[in-house]
Symmetry: C2
Subunit: 259 residues, 2 copies
Amino acid sequence: MSASKKFTTAVSSIRIIPLRGLPEVVPGDKLVRLLVAATRRQRVRVGQGDIFIITHKIVSKAEGRIVPLDSIKPSRQAARWAGKYNKDPRLIELVLREASGIVLMKRGVIVAETHHGFVCANAGVDVSNSPDGTAVLLPKDPDRSARKLHDGLTRAFGVRVGIVISDTFGRPWREGLVNVALGAAGSASLLDYRGKTDASGKMLNATLIAVADELASAAELVMGKFERVPAAIVRGYAADGAFQSGADLIRPREKDLFR
Amino acid sequence: MSASKKFTTAVSSIRIIPLRGLPEVVPGDKLVRLLVAATRRQRVRVGQGDIFIITHKIVSKAEGRIVPLDSIKPSRQAARWAGKYNKDPRLIELVLREASGIVLMKRGVIVAETHHGFVCANAGVDVSNSPDGTAVLLPKDPDRSARKLHDGLTRAFGVRVGIVISDTFGRPWREGLVNVALGAAGSASLLDYRGKTDASGKMLNATLIAVADELASAAELVMGKFERVPAAIVRGYAADGAFQSGADLIRPREKDLFR
């Protein structure tokens, strides 16, 4: 533990505060206004360094990333695959359009790389918590969305806040989904401990910690999946660093041993 | 959101409290006693349902899962691979012994399946925060370790507490490590939302949430990597369910699309 002095973050306890009672978000809604109203209703006094974790679903909806399935004409490939696995061909078509590449199509599951570079189920296309007959796509540029929210909320509250835009992803080898970060602004997304140890001749660990993913996971604990809690505030966590975007959390293809 | 009534968890805000100042743990140490002492020093009054997130490193050390590298005679295979990538052959030998199978050996990285079924780097063998000349292995049975800590701490505090034993794992496709759960007791590890939606003809999501992994990730935010904070308490999160073990978080091989 001789390296313990080299990297100190002054963390005492952290609080995770759910933001409840946001209305159903529709295209064109001003999320900054809705989030500010939610904090007021709950009498949450937002402080410097508070981090807003916001599920991408409401960001996508506000940005109009909802697609009526009636508007989608499935390609032959989509129709064939949908037929084989008893899926909606229009949804499969949307998945294929949102994908820049297919990682795996197997037993009715599509794991795809999105145009942003995320590898996830159905290229992020989702019908849960989406109005009937529609599907919600991922935000076009989650980091840009995060920066806009960062700017807007920082202005509204008069204190600098961090933003993480989240989604739930599955993982190979492990059961269950966890919340991860798609976009981030104003708060560290990765902490870099490399070179901080005095290891000599030791097997070195890769010691980048994906703290924005951990923040997203922490927030999911108060969000649940079927309650109307699309956002949470993490208070008491401060970490700076060179990496502050969701894009930093995407492993470059040339470094990825699994592609 | 018509399903919102069907699954309600009464979550208000959650607190994550770091437990500091534990001594360097050595084989034979009574972790229950050390953890109780840490809460007393910090004047943390442990309450019903508090969840202790404990890094596996101190569990392994207390259980004697530390190996002096001098005691290891590398096999020919270990020596060959270590030579090729400039690694310590004794460490590679340990990795091979801890592995039940190799998922990937590439560019100096070993991703292996452990005898428990975890898929992770170096089969969990680690030299960071380990005395010089030694390596720390994963606990032999993290769920059993968790149950023992659950029983001991519940007795000591007189209130029922949950336990998650954690480690940091890498992920394919994403940068950085996150904390995940190896073992658990007395608290949900997976929440099962399947069948809770009224989806009709919709593309169904896999809606198992790996809450023990999310609890571990949340705790990592106060643990950091190089501070002596090997445990944290998560307060205000209560979730019951059928799945309460770390083993539940291991995707069975026959369900795994990536093996």
